[in-house]
Amino acid sequence: MSGAVLDRPPMTSPKPEAPVADLVTFEERLPQEWKWSRRLAGCVLALGLVYAWFGLKPLWHTDVWGHLNYGRWIVSHGTLPATEPTMPLAQGVPFVDPYWLCQVLGYWTIQGLGVAGIQGVSSLMITTMGALLLHRCWQRTRSMGFAYLGLAAFLWLDWSTLAIVRPQLAGLLCFCVLLHRMTSPRATTIDWVLVPATHLVWANMHGSFVLGLALQGAFVAGRALDLLRRTGALRSVWHDHFVRRWLLWLQLSAVATLVNPYGIGLYLEVWRVSGNPNLASLTEWQTLDIRATHGLVFVASVVALAMLYRFTPRRIASWEVLTLVGLALASLWSARFLSWWAPVAAVLGTVHLHASLRRWCPWQAMPAPSPRSGKWTVVTLGLMWIFLGYSPLGMRLIHGKDAVLEKSVSEYTPLGAVEYLRESPPEGLVFNVFEFGDYLQWAGPPGIRVFVNSHAHLVPREVWLHYLQVIEQTAGWEEVFDRYGVNTVMVDTKYREPLIRRMKDNAAWKIGYQDSRAVVFVRKASI
């Protein structure tokens, strides 16, 4: 017998294939409350786009800088000023500051997080407003499509307001919170605290808190009217759950607004500011010009709403009519009220559009449930991360990267001119265009004495008239500079070309600095 006997290799069974991950099994392990819906992911996407858009928007060259300047003053002095503290020509003018809380928070934000912080916080406020209105529109229509439409309508109607960062955004946010709660089908115990608390904060942030009280008043009056029309009995009004609740909320809110540094004096100030003659020179305080873009948008929205209300199958609550008519009339009287017209018009327009369209094209009564799964949780969180992480604020918080100032401010911000003034501090009073006053005070040389800033209601009447005399170049305008001891003049190139030409022709002045945004004239022989 020959040949070695080789051990046979041991028999091995073929390796089984690695099992494919069973996503169904994976999802089932996630707690239910963490399984978010596709609808939510869609909302986050939409709101994230809103956040990203406004987060990247450059800061406007007026308002915000003035408020930050006041915030700086309040923080450094540890008290609210009793008289105007920053404009030398307004010395002694009593100063009631309804925006103080915004100013202080804004100052802390910019100190801690830079310009990106301001951009981030303002865009978060706008996003929150959008979220509240999106939620309410969805809740009333059960249609995400119409909810997005409502959000878009709000953004379109209020575009010019949302583009400018200032305490009015905080006022608008409070208004949206209130509108959300008032239109909620079911109030909670928390609302008894939330509604007055919103007014308390509102009254310390912006003078528009009176509109919140007016809105609540419209709800009460509207509900009472509806009941009276339906029952004819006053008793039914008193016993109505909604009337009682809303009336008590109104009273608690009114008391909450008194919790401010000025008490009831704040109401007086809001009243007086609205009647200040200086503000008549400012576009947004003038009667609405329906030929301007914002006027056309307003008219379009009024026409659209009128048609919707004509054809809607939904019962029209009186509060809707009271609120819409009230805000529309207010907007015609002063363009500034367009800001508060927008959210109401957007929500009500969406709701009635949905009802009207369903009447003609009925679709499924209830929307299909939106699938919930861990996948959508990941998508939602991922979207949040992307939008927040790559925003200027996110860059600042996560990467410590400061926003570039030139890209973070509007193209009209006089960066170069202010830098020139910092290097060559002006002697005496600086005559500046109204639009530059705020930034000059914030970023200009310490102690700069500006002629006016955006708080026109604090400028003494004669001073304001002299300001207009220069800007409009009416008779004797050059003597204003002599009268006030102005040795430096700073004007914008965008709208003041005629004034710039005449200043160039004046032998007493020379150009100290000039760029595409601003010109600085300096008197040859200082007085």
């Binding site: 002694g92 008590l248 608690l252 008391v255 008194l258 008490g263 009831i264 004096g265 009447r461």
Partner: protein
């Protein structure tokens, strides 16, 4: 099923609401309550400023310098600026200037010259004004809800400058309780005029020189007060307002601003009505004025209306009317008389200015003086201050030694 809000909750909220509103009203300060009242009732807010004295303060001159003006020269000038006015259509502005120069105590042997009392009576009594002007012009004294306003401006029979009436009576030493007879009231006093002036004063109005002067002589040690639009005013603000703008601007080529500023500094010496920073700024401002008038004096001693241009004023003279030289020179001598020496230009500048103004004044005929009385009155006052006296006191002494001669002409010039 919805649970209705209980009655207890309703009551609790009513209590909270009432307590909140009442607390807010109670804790509101008086000025806020006043403003609330004004907004709801339409009645004006009339803040009252406490006046701590019954007679106004005076700014005493500092120097008795016969080299600047001798007794004879002073007498000659004062004789020119005696208030010898026509009775009909008597200009309040003339009377005011005469009163502030001659004071209440002025008395003259010449019956054609109005005494201090007569000057004062004309200004505070509508009846006397009416006798001079008749019914064809508006009254000088105007009734207000709680005060008296003075009609001022370029209109016929008006006071010309804002608060000049008040400042003139104040400088003349007229007391707070001096009666003021308006067209419809007999119970008003200087106090009511002063309160009205305090209320309606606006920092940014065209003329603030005399308001600052009047307030300065009445209010210290009070440093701040409120106007009727709620603005908090102070002597700091007034001083800054007087310093504001080109020095050439302001009434009388900007010289009244300088005088009023000097008065505020003198008041600050005793009553500390200015903050240290503003006092320093005001002092620096006057130092600059000193330097400018040192450079801008003409060889014959006068200053022109563009004195604030410094040496350019002399190198490139403008065509000024002669009376404007009197204005500038007389007014500068006036404030220098109450200023400390470190604010003086070199002595020869003062001497030359005094020589010029004495010569120029005594060379005028009486009708020429009358035509420009207000400017020449400042000359008389300025020169008296340089002798540490007042025109009324000096003239009384002079007339005792040189009695009035009704046969003699007012001046040799008028004989010619």
């Amino acid at each position: 099923m919805r649970r209705n809000v209980s009655i207890e909750a309703v009551l609790i909220v009513q209590v909270v609401f009432l307590v909140g509103v009442v607390t807010s009203l109670v804790t509101a300060g008086p000025s806020l309550r006043g403003r609330l009242e004004r907004e709801f009732t339409g009645r004006p807010v009339l803040p009252v400023v406490p006046i701590p004295r019954e007679t106004p303060l005076t700014i005493e001159p500092l120097y008795d310098d016969p080299e600047v003006v001798s007794d004879e020269e002073l007498a000659a000038v004062l004789k020119k600026v005696q208030p010898r006015f026509p009775k009909s259509q008597l200009k309040p502005n003339f009377v005011e200037h005469a009163l502030r120069t001659w004071w209440l105590k002025a008395e003259f042997q010449d019956p054609d010259v109005m005494s201090g009392q007569a000057l004062k009576d004309y200004l505070v009594d509508h009846g006397k004004y009416l006798a001079s002007w008749g019914n064809d012009v508006e009254p000088l004294l105007m009734d207000r809800p709680e005060g008296v306003a003075i009609r001022w401006g370029k209109e016929t029979g008006a006071s010309v400058h804002h608060d000049h009436w008040l400042a003139s009576l104040t400088e003349a030493g007229v007391g707070l309780h001096e009666p003021v007879f308006t067209p419809s009231r007999q119970d008003m006093t200087i106090y009511n005029v002063l309160q009205e002036a305090l209320r309606d004063f606006r920092v940014d109005e065209v003329e603030t020189e005399w308001s600052a002067l009047a307030f300065g002589l009445w209010l210290p040690p009070t440093k701040s007060w409120q106007s009727n639009n709620g603005r908090e005013l102070s002597f700091d603000i007034l001083a800054q307002r007087l310093m504001r703008g080109d020095k050439k601007l302001g009434v009388c080529s900007g010289t009244h601003r300088v005088y009023s500023l000097m008065v505020l500094i003198r008041l600050d010496d005793e009553y500390h009505i200015l903050s240290p920073e503003i006092r320093t700024a005001a002092y620096s401002h006057l130092e600059r004025v000193r330097d400018l008038i040192s450079e801008s004096q003409f060889p014959d001693g006068h200053w022109a209306s563009n004195w604030a241009d410094g040496k350019v004023s002399v190198e490139k003279p403008i065509s000024d009317e002669a009376f404007k030289h009197v204005i500038a020179t007389g007014h500068h001598l006036e404030w220098l008389a109450i200023a400390p020496t470190d604010l003086h230009p070199p002595r020869e500048v003062i001497l030359k200015a005094a020589d010029w103004v004495i010569r120029t004044t005594t060379e005028q005929t009486q009708s020429q003086i009358l035509e420009r009385y207000t400017f020449f009155s400042h000359v008389g006052n300025a020169l008296s201050l340089w002798r540490k006296t007042h025109p009324a006191d000096f003239w009384k002494k002079w007339e005792a030694e040189h009695p009035y001669d009704p046969e003699a002409p007012v001046s040799a010039l008028d004989v010619r």
